[in-house]
Amino acid sequence: MSLLSRIGIIVAAVLLIGSTFVPIWQIDLNAPQYPEGLTLKIYTDTLGGNVDIINGLNHYIGMKTLHTKDFIEFSVLKYIIYFFAGFSLLVAFVGNKKILYTLFSLFVLFGVVAMIDFWRWEYNYGHDLDPHAAIIVPGMAYQPPLIGFKQLLNFGAYSVPDTGGWLFVISGVLMLLVVIKELKFSKNENK
């Protein structure tokens, strides 16, 4: 591995650690009565933003209330990210390409699993509704979009990565660039 690749991987590790200090995802909610908007901020270890207000509103449609302690993810996510940061540093230190490819494959796998997990939670919260709820609209579920915009009754929900999510994406892109560079390099070497 070249020096540049090693630096790239170190930067990716630093960005990963950085992502644990800021929210990784946000869901913005807007309604006629909430011109100022409500935000749900998802950190690696907790929920932030207007959680109480959102919980208060969701009881009308019988959605379960959101509590940090209900998510096993919040107790492990941070450590998984630390693991990847550590792994990255190891790759940068050892400079072994095979380990680099393993890191990248695992990281992509983690990203995909995390998104599936996130979707699963959204699906469960959006569909597992109290049958005695005050407002029941036949056929209506309240699953927020995985990414992008969706209208849920009077609320428009807009789901996008927050700072941490973008840091995560950038470190993934960095890893990808390093992998491509190293792959090319090895091909050149083989010629």
């Binding site: 109480d52 207000i53 208060g56 009881h59 009308y60 005050a134 407002i135």
Partner: protein, 663 residues
């Protein structure tokens, strides 16, 4: 022949036109084309200025936006307000306590915004109770009255609550001189001259918390103290009080108190008074007055009876007060932004005297006196006079300033506002008002730095200004743009009660500090319920305390049984919401009481004494959500002898409902 007829017709038409132009001005001639644009604030946009209006005989204070003239809020102060539970909830009842007991009404005349360095600082606004003398402090974070202090030895608390440039003191001068509280007041009224005294109270204000305390009182001759203003800048340390009835009449004052050509503006050296008090020169008097404080932490008010004031008799301290003769029963005595000029407004005078503070000091130094009035040196009129504005109008009452060297005086009798230059003493402009203006105010017009864009006239007579509503009409305010040389009327707006003085302040000084909710974690109310799980009903003898919560859209508990005749039920309702603009209301059928309006995070208590056994519904009175109509509950009241168990529930019946027997 024909020519003559034409001539006759033409001259006739000319005569009609000439007559028309001689008619007094009416609205159409004083409102120019773009007035509506100037007063227009588009939906969703904010006003530039908060305007705090005294409610006069309503006892409350109202808050308007300018230039739109939109009413935002009526702050309950000295009168009960069943709409907001003010004076009805257990928490607010003590606010209306006085040494005479619970007083449900008063007459709020003047408002004063707190000042720092002579400018409005947007922290508090004060108001006076004219009838049963008191001063209230309203917190401008919550727009709630949080302190009321009573004033002993006083009656007709009119020259009040004017304050000094750093809100060191508020003053409260008595309009009706009376025998002091601890003297025998059961004396013939015609012994006025011997037995009646005029007291001026100096109320100190806590620098950080705004807490009020009567620092000292000045015992003055028995006259009618009308209005006052603190000196500022060069005259900081002095207070000026207008007084009438220096004839000391006690009957038919409209004639008997108008005999002297000149009454007085009394100048008080309050820094000196402070020194005398510090040196222990005051005498302590036993009196009774009540001090009420509302705590934001406990959401409850408490009353304390105080028993002593310190008094300086001004006769004994010849360098404390000086009388400046002022023509004919002066009303307003207003100090310009520099503090150098004091404008006296003799209600019956045909001129406006402007006194000079520096000339007054020189006159005192050189003892340019013209005898004494009841022991107080009288300064020679010319010795303190800067000059007179000749023929300003009829019935001058009050003056405010624009910070550009101009003064604006209200003329009650000639029903106009007159703009004049202070240095030159020349009238610049005059505009008619509809009708008979009392007070007026310029935005921050009594401060060191007025922002002279708007002037508001508060009129005493409305007559034909609005659609009629029977014999009783609203009062009217009129807004003027005074940014140009000429004053320009741009808006009429009706007001609540009868505004006397009002103050206006740039919105930015208050808007940013406005509180949205009370934090439930910081709620220290004795009967707070910090979650539905904690809600309960507790019996203590015949007192039943209901620890109730409300959240969109239910009360917890919403079914209560086991209340018995003879019980006093206290509903302590906590609003668990922590979101802006989600108040809940609470009312019980048949309660000889008002409703509660409970703000997010707040606890308020409604006392209810059931008057007969039966079923008594209660419900949320403030439309809170889509399921507001469902926010209701029942209280079952049983005879005193019954053994209905005390139970409460939400969602599940307690006791369990019996299935009706199937056929």
């Amino acid at each position: 022949m024909n020519n003559k007829l034409v001539l006759l017709a033409v001259s006739g038409a000319f005569a009609v036109t000439a007559l028309q132009s001689c008619k007094p001005q009416n609205t159409s001639s004083v409102v120019s084309g773009n007035a509506s644009v100037k007063a227009y604030v588009a939906p969703g946009k904010y006003d530039e200025v908060y305007n705090f209006l005294s409610g006069g005989f309503s006892g409350q204070m109202s808050v308007y936006g300018l230039p739109s003239g939109r009413l935002f809020r009526v702050i309950p102060v000295f009168s009960v307000d069943p709409e907001k539970g003010w004076g009805y909830s257990e928490e607010t009842k003590p606010m209306l306590n006085t040494s005479h007991g619970f007083v449900p009404w008063d007459d709020l005349h003047h408002v004063q915004l707190s000042k720092t360095n002579g400018d409005a600082d947007g922290r508090w606004v004060f108001g006076n109770a004219n009838n049963t003398p008191r001063i209230a402090r309203i917190n401008l974070k919550t727009f709630k009255a949080e302190e009321i202090i009573e004033l002993p030895n006083s009656a007709g608390n009119h020259s009040s609550p004017y304050l000094t440039e750093n809100t060191e003191y508020l003053v409260a001068g008595t309009r009706f001189s009376v025998p002091p509280d601890n003297a025998n007041g059961d004396v013939p009224i015609n012994t006025y001259k011997q037995n009646f005294k005029g007291y001026l109270s100096f109320v100190s204000v806590g620098k950080e918390d705004g807490k009020m305390d009567i620092a000292f009182q000045l015992e003055c001759p028995g006259v009618d103290f009308d209005l006052s203003r603190a000196g500022k800048g060069v005259s900081h340390g002095w207070f000026f009080f207008s007084c009438y009835n220096t004839e000391q009449a006690n009957t038919l004052l409209e004639v008997n108190a108008s005999q002297r050509d000149k009454d007085f503006i009394m100048a008080v050296n309050w820094k000196k008074a402070e020194e005398y008090i510090k040196a222990g020169k005051g005498r302590k008097e036993k009196v009774k007055y009540v001090h009420n404080v509302y705590s934001e932490a406990t959401h409850s008010a408490s009353s304390e009876m105080k028993t002593e004031v310190t008094i300086l008799n001004v006769k004994d301290f010849p360098d404390l007060c000086y009388m400046m003769p002022c023509p004919k029963s002066p009303h307003g005595c207003d100090v310009d932004p520099t503090g150098e000029y004091i404008v006296g407004s003799g209600k019956l005078a045909a001129l406006l005297p402007v006194f000079s503070f520096s000339k007054m000091l020189k006159a005192i130094e050189s003892k340019a006196f013209d005898g004494a009035y009841d022991g107080i040196p009288v300064i020679k009129y010319e010795a303190a006079l800067y000059g007179e504005v000749k023929k300003p109008g009829l019935g001058p009452l009050h003056t405010e300033f624009d910070g550009k060297g101009n003064a604006y005086t209200s003329m009650f009798v000639s029903s106009e506002v007159v703009k004049w230059n202070i240095k030159e003493l020349k009238v610049i402009d005059r505009v008619p008002v509809f009708y008979s203006v009392g007070h007026l105010c310029v935005v921050e017009g009594d401060s060191k730095n007025p922002t002279g864009k708007y002037l508001i006239a508060y009129n005493k007579i409305t007559k034909d200004r609005y659609l009629p509503t029977g014999p009783e009409l609203c009062q009217s305010a009129q807004l003027f743009d005074i940014s140009g040389e000429k004053m320009e009327m741009i808006l009429d707006f009706p007001t609540i009660g009868e505004p006397h003085y009002a103050q206006a302040v740039l919105a930015e000084k208050i808007q940013k500090n406005s509180q949205k909710i009370y934090k439930i974690d910081e709620n220290k109310h004795q009967y707070v319920t910090k979650g539905e799980k904690e809600s309960k009903v507790v019996r203590e003898g015949n007192k039943v305390h209901v620890y109730m919560t409300c959240v969109r859209s239910h009360f917890s508990p919403d079914n209560i049984e086991g209340i018995k005749m003879g019980d006093e039920v206290y509903f302590h309702v906590t609003n668990l919401e922590q979101d802006w603009d989600v108040p809940h209301g609470f009312a019980v059928k048949g309660a000889v009481n008002a409703e509660l309006l409970i703000m997010p995070g707040e606890t308020q208590t409604l006392k209810w004494t059931p008057e007969k056994p039966g079923m008594w519904p209660f419900y949320c009175t403030d439309f809170c959500s889509a399921l507001h109509q469902e926010m209701q509950g029942y209280v079952r009241v049983s005879p005193a002898s019954s053994n209905t168990p005390l139970v409460w529930s939400l969602g599940t019946n307690l006791p369990k409902a019996e299935e009706p027997a199937s056929k």
